[in-house]
């Protein structure tokens, strides 16, 4: 299947053929081997059980060449059911053999249940890192999901959250972290009737790195709503792509969507691309809007902070941290605090790339 599938079926734009540098993955395609294990370690509290033994409904193997590579290298997976109230943390577990680490988890949140789900990605130690999580939210359930992108050890990586929301389900999702040489993040959310999504993302692309984040939001049920935003910071020589599509299907009457993508270029050679797309297939839409922007530390804000004694870099970092906090606000409860704690790790990439006035 890998030989006939393409990484991407339609090119992205007339001027940038692909926002992801697919050639970074190609050297690994011929050396895939299946190693035992699902690649995650689990820490759970509350009502957490083994779930149905099937995966792939939200990430079909024939979706793309990358999906096929993921399954070809996958040595196992874990399926989990969550009832009542629970919290679950998935940490990457090292896999000794092969040149690729493939991780997969399938999580079912039963009707009416609530879960805080924290997923850490990375730690591939120089191996191609492919990590995907399928998440199904039953009727009336709620999930707070935080995905943290850690270091990939200098190798390319790809990851994705695939979520399907049942009637009146709610998903609050934040993606936070910094990218390696090439990180492709492909998140998709399918919204059922009266379900709701709130999503934020804050991703740093340090010098020499490239992050392509895509979020697909598909309103399939009536009265569904989504509010998604993403902020990418490209540091000197970094490459940040924040893109996505919000689609309101024909049957999703009275739905609303709001989609915002922003990029900030901090230093020479930084590149940023914002592509928030909108497809409205019904006239019975409450509201559909999107917005993209290029962010800069506001001169008035900088002046205000400097007049209170902060150095220019410190003031700038504070403003950037403010942008990040706005993205984290999609989360509720205890995970919001966890995300704030991790933000310090992420901001270190910014401060270490800052000019000399800090010395």
């Amino acid at each position: 299947m890998m030989e006939v599938l393409e990484y991407q079926r339609v090119s992205d734009s007339p001027t940038v053929k692909h926002y992801t540098d697919w050639s970074a993955y190609e050297p690994f395609a011929g050396t895939l081997s299946r190693c035992p294990g699902d690649g995650f370690s689990y820490e759970a509290s509350g009502d957490v059980r083994d779930g149905p033994r099937s995966i792939g409904a939200l990430l079909p193997a024939d979706e793309s060449k990358l999906a096929a590579m993921h399954y070809a290298a996958l040595g196992g997976f874990r399926s989990i059911s969550i009832g009542g109230s629970a919290s679950l943390a998935l940490e990457p577990r090292g896999i000794e053999c092969g040149s690729t680490v493939s991780r997969h988890s399938a999580i079912l949140v039963e009707p009416g249940a609530n879960v805080d789900l924290r997923i850490t990605l990375g730690g591939g130690a120089g191996k191609l890192d492919l990590s995907f999580v399928e998440l199904v939210l039953g009727e009336g359930s709620t999930a707070n999901v935080l995905i943290y992108l850690g270091s990939t050890g200098g190798a390319p990586s790809a990851a994705g959250l695939r979520a399907a929301l049942g009637r009146r389900a709610r998903l609050n999702y934040v993606l936070l972290g910094s990218g390696g040489p090439m990180h492709h993040q492909d998140d998709r959310v399918l919204l059922g009737p009266s379900s709701a999504l709130r999503a934020g993302a804050f991703l740093i692309s340090p010098g020499g790195s490239r992050v392509d984040r895509f979020l697909g939001v598909d309103h399939a049920g009536e009265d569904s709503s989504s509010s998604a935003s993403a902020m990418g910071i490209a540091l000197g020589g970094g490459y940040s792509v924040m893109r996505g599509i919000a689609r309101i299907e024909e049957g999703a009457a009275r739905s609303r969507t709001e989609f915002t993508a922003g990029v900030a270029l901090m230093g020479e050679g930084a590149r940023g691309y914002a592509v928030p797309m909108l497809e409205v297939h019904t006239g019975d839409v409450l509201e559909a809007r999107h917005h993209s922007f290029e962010a800069k530390p506001d001169a008035d804000q900088l002046f205000y902070l400097r007049s209170r004694g902060l150095k220019e870099d410190e003031a700038r970092d504070l403003i950037i941290a403010g942008w990040a906090e706005a993205q984290l606000s999609a989360l509720e409860g205890a995970l919001a605090g966890v995300a704030s704690g991790l933000l310090g790790e992420v901001m270190r990439a910014v401060t270490s790339a800052a000019p000399t006035s800090r010395q």
Binding site: V10, M266, E268, R271, M277, V280, T282, G283, E287, H291
Partner: protein
């Protein structure tokens, strides 16, 4: 001509209805069949072109054969390039007076009020029928100022160096398959040159008519605005009610030199059986300004994305795009800007209306290259959906490579609500009248960019589109 008189020309009918069913008129020759070297050489031979133009056409043909069909193009499954006539000459000599045109061809333009428009409102006019320019005239005093308005073929003969310097340099055939096809087969169109410092006070217009089914029209418009000059150009297009489809693949190239200002307005009102591809691009040099106003009302399907490359420091562009998809038709429109120099500015405003199962697509690109310091871009897209079966999609790309530049994009899709309709109907308006009033209110902000005469025409067209008896959708 007063606004009332121009409105009276259209009455309560669309241009398609005014022109009526496609009729018989005297045709000269037509070329049809496989698009290959022999066909291209035959077009070039008929036009007695210099070698460089034939070589350009053949290079474009190679590109056409090499480049695959764009995968994102949908809705043109019925297009069969081998069954259409890629060149059709009407049986008419090019005229400098309407009276010298054969009556059956003159009648098309008279029904649309073009001769009156020319007399009262325009600096010059070029009329293209099928594949050839049948009429071209410019006010005499402009000639004495050195302004050139000629059919494209004649310009190739009379001003080969000037044409060669700019032709296909703004929009190369290698850009995409339909640009290559156009360059290989181009016929008809206008060449305009405005000398240094000359201001053309009234617009120049080109009006294109496709007279019959299964025809291809590939007209080429090239505008060169020399340093410090100023001009505006209006492009109009119509066709009668066609029994089968026809295909339009035109191109507009604008080179705005230092400090010049060019405004290009399109009022596209093809009939419902025309598949319309348009290739429009400008290069703006230092301190030059290019304004595009694109009104897409007719056609079965339209693909058009007026583009500007801001190549000179301080150059500017504004693009206003209006798409009306009324009935089971599609408008795939948008705009592109490349900021390639410091201190450049761009503004894109897109308004689309989808009604009766119509689909509007906005595709946009703003690219700010490294080195385009302190450049600024802003894009606004608004879509109005009039009923449940209609659709609107927006695909904007903002690509930033310069940290000191700024760019933003905003888009909103909203629907016509029952409350709005009820309010207007309770004041005695019929449903069609209420809808056209809402649409005109939605477009109000951009009407100011159009000449007053065309505001009147556009208003009438929209009233007809949404009236209960008018409109062909």
């Amino acid at each position: 001509m007063s606004r009332e008189e121009i409105s009276g020309v259209l009455g309560y009918r669309t241009p398609e209805e005014l022109l009526g069913p496609e009729g018989t008129y005297s045709r000269g020759m037509a070329l049809r069949g496989r698009i290959e070297r022999g066909m291209v050489e035959e077009i070039s031979r008929m036009k007695r072109e210099p070698d460089w133009m034939l070589r350009l056409r053949l290079r474009a043909l190679d590109e056409f054969e090499r480049i695959p069909y764009p995968r994102w193009v949908t809705g043109v499954d019925g297009l069969n390039l081998e069954e259409i006539s890629t060149y059709v000459s009407p049986d008419a000599q090019r005229a400098g007076s309407w009276n010298d045109l054969p009556g059956d061809i003159r009648e098309y333009y008279e029904k649309l009020g073009i001769p009156e428009l020319e007399a009262r409102f325009l600096s010059g006019l070029t009329a293209v029928f099928d594949s050839e320019t049948v009429y071209s005239r410019m006010k005499e005093y402009l000639e004495s100022l050195g302004v050139i308005l000629l059919p494209m073929e004649e310009a190739v003969q009379r001003y080969p160096d000037l044409v060669r310097e700019h032709f296909s340099r703004v929009f190369p055939p290698s850009d995409h398959k339909f640009a290559a096809l156009h360059t290989a087969l181009w016929s008809g169109g206008a060449f305009v040159y405005v000398p240094k410092g000359v201001r053309v006070p009234q617009p120049i217009e080109a009006y294109f008519i496709i007279g019959g089914s299964l025809e291809g029209q590939f007209e080429h418009t090239l505008i060169v605005a020399d340093e410090g000059s100023e001009m505006s150009f209006i492009e109009g297009c119509s066709a009668p009610m066609l029994k089968k489809y026809s295909f339009h693949d035109g191109m507009v190239e604008i080179h705005a030199l230092k400090g010049s200002k060019v405004k290009f307005i399109t009022v596209q009102n093809w009939s419902r059986n025309v598949i319309n591809f348009n290739n429009k691009r400008a290069i703006a040099e230092e301190d030059a300004t290019v304004e595009w106003v694109e009104g897409s009302i007719g056609s079965r399907i339209t693909y058009t994305y007026p583009s500007t490359i801001l190549r000179g420091r301080g150059s500017r562009t504004s693009n206003v795009v209006v798409g009306v998809a009324n009935g089971p038709y599609m408008k795939d429109t948008g705009s592109k800007v490349v900021h390639a120099a410091p201190d450049t500015r761009s503004s894109i405003v897109s308004k689309s209306i989808s009604n009766g199962g119509g689909v509007n697509v906005y595709r946009g690109l703003v690219r700010i290259l490294k080195g385009a310091t302190n450049s600024v871009s802003h894009v606004e897209c608004s879509s109005l959906i009039m009923d449940e079966g209609s659709k609107a999609h927006t695909y904007p790309h903002v690509q930033l490579e310069e940290p000191t530049a700024s760019a933003s994009h905003e888009a909103t899709t909203s629907r016509l609500t029952e409350d709005q309709l009820f309010y207007l109907r309770s004041r005695g308006l019929k449903e069609g009248e209420a809808k056209s009033l809402i649409v005109l209110g939605f477009l109000q902000g951009i009407m100011q960019d159009l000449p007053i005469e065309y505001v009147s025409v556009l208003t009438k067209v929209i009233q007809v589109e949404f009236s209960e008896v008018g409109g062909l959708g």
